[in-house]
C-alpha cells in the first residue's frame, strides 16, 4: 500500500477525524446516540450515503459545471439519503421511527458535503471511495464510542440486552443525564481530549 492510500485510509480514523477534529456531524452524533442500535443504523446509513456520494461525484467531476457544482452535489446526496430513508422504512421500521428526522438530516451533514467538495471533486473514484469509507468509519467509531457508554449508564443495557439488573430494587440507579444530549457533549469532549493528548499534531497553535 503506498503512502497516499494509507493516508487516505488511516487519517480520518484518528488525526483527521471528522467529528473530533473537524467537529462536523455533531447534530446527529448528539441525537441518535442514546442507544447503540439506533447509532449503528445511523452509521450504516451515513456510510452508504458518504460512499455513494463520493463515488458518484468523483465519476462526474470532469463534467460538473463549476457554477452549479454545489447544487449538483446536493442533488446526488439528497437522492442517496432518500434511498437510505426509504429502505430503512421498509426493512427496519421501528428503528427508522426512532431515527425520525435524523436520516433525512444526513443531507445537511457537513461530513458528506465536505468530502464531496474537498476530496471527490479532485480525485479519482477509487481514492474517493476509500476516502468516503474511511471518513464514514471515523464517524462510526465516534458514534459507537459515544452511544455505548450512554446506553450502558443510562439504561443499563447494550443493544437492548440488560447488562445491569434494571428492576426497581436494583442497586444501580440509572444515570438520567446520560440519556440527555449534554452527555454526548461531555463524552465527545473527553474523546477530543484523549485524542489530542495522544496526537499533539491535532492541537492548533494559538
Amino acid at each position: 500500500m503506498d503512502k497516499k492510500t494509507k493516508k487516505i485510509l488511516v487519517d480520518p480514523l484518528h488525526v483527521e477525524n471528522p467529528i473530533t477534529l473537524q467537529v462536523l456531524g455533531i447534530c446527529s452524533a448528539l441525537a441518535v446516540t442514546t442507544n447503540l442500535s439506533t447509532a449503528l443504523v445511523m452509521c450504516g446509513a451515513l456510510t452508504f450515503v458518504l460512499l455513494g456520494s463520493n463515488i458518484v461525484i468523483s465519476c462526474l467531476r470532469n463534467y460538473i459545471p463549476g457554477s452549479i457544482r454545489i447544487i449538483v452535489q446536493l442533488t446526488v446526496i439528497a437522492s442517496l439519503v432518500i434511498v437510505a430513508d426509504q429502505v430503512l422504512k421498509a426493512f427496519v421500521y421501528d428503528v427508522s421511527k426512532q431515527l425520525s428526522v435524523f436520516v433525512g438530516l444526513i443531507i445537511t451533514n457537513c461530513i458528506v458535503m465536505g468530502r464531496a467538495e474537498a476530496f471527490a471533486m479532485a480525485n479519482g473514484p477509487v481514492d474517493s471511495a476509500l476516502d468516503g469509507l474511511s471518513n464514514a468509519m471515523g464517524y462510526n467509531i465516534i458514534l459507537i464510542l459515544v452511544a455505548a457508554p450512554r446506553e450502558f449508564f443510562g439504561f443499563g443495557t447494550l443493544l437492548g440486552h440488560p447488562i445491569i439488573d434494571a428492576s426497581e430494587s436494583s442497586w444501580y440507579v440509572h444515570n438520567g443525564m446520560m440519556v440527555l444530549s449534554p452527555a454526548a457533549f461531555f463524552i465527545i469532549g473527553v474523546l477530543i481530549w484523549i485524542q489530542r493528548a495522544a496526537a499533539p499534531s491535532m492541537v492548533e497553535e494559538d
Binding site: 452549479i68 446526488v76 434511498v83 426509504q86 429502505v87 422504512k89 421500521y93 421501528d94 435524523f102 444530549s181
Partner: protein, 260 residues
Amino acid sequence: MPVNKDKGLFIVFFATAMCVVCSAAVSSLAVALREKQTTNKRLDKQKNILRVAGLLEAGASPDQAAVEEAFKNIEAYLIDRKTGERVEGEVAGYDQRKAAKTDEGGVSAESGVAKLAQVKRLPNTLLVYEVTVPGKEAYILPISGNGLWSTLLGFIAVKLNAQTIAGITYYEHAETPGLGGEVDNPKWKALWPGRQIYGPEGDVRINANKGGGFGPDHDIDALSGATITSHGVTYMLQLWLGPDGYQPFLKKATAGSGGN
C-alpha cells in the same frame, strides 16, 4: 470529446439530466418499496392499539402473525358520532380522517375546542376498538390534532366506566425529537392511566397544559420544553372525549351496562 463544461447550454443540459436521472431512481425505488412500507405502517398501528390496551409488553416486538393473533381479542366497530349508536359498516377499510374530508362523511367543526385542536372537519362515523380480554376491558378511541409541527395521531384507552383513562399512545407525529417528541416517552405515558376524564357536570377535565387546573385526578404534567405540543394533546382530548367526539358514545355505553 472535450466539452466546455462551463458553457451555458451544457449547464442547462447537465442540470436537466441530473434531475431526470435522480428523480427516476428515487421514485422507482419508492414505488417498489411502497407495499412493504404500508404493511409496516399498518402493523405499527395495530401494535400501538395492542400496547395501549395493555395486551403487549412495552419492549416486545412481535411478528405479524402474533400481532394478528392478539388482535382477535379486539372488536372493532363503527358508531354514529352524534347519537353514539352503533352503525353497520365495513371497519377494515374505514379511515375516519379521510371520511371527515368528504361532503357526505363529515361536517366542518365549529366548536372552540376544535379550533384550539386545529381540527377542521369531523367525521360523522367514528371507529371504536373494544378490548374484550377479561380484566383489560376498555374502549380504544382514535384521537388526532395538531401539535407544534405536525398532526399527532394516536389512541386513548378508556375503561368501561367511561371515566377512567387506561392509557394513551401516539403512533404518528413529527414533533421535535427530545421535546414534543417525548409524547412517545413511556415515563410520560405512564402518568395517564387512572386519570379521570369528566367532572361532575360531564365536562372534559383532562389537562396536560402547564400549570394544570383541575386537580390531581385530572391533570397530567406537561412535557417540558414542549408547551405547544402539550396544548395540542390537551385540546385534542377535550375535543375527542367531548360532546363533539366520543362523549355521546361513552354515555350510552355506561347507561347500557347498568349506569354507574
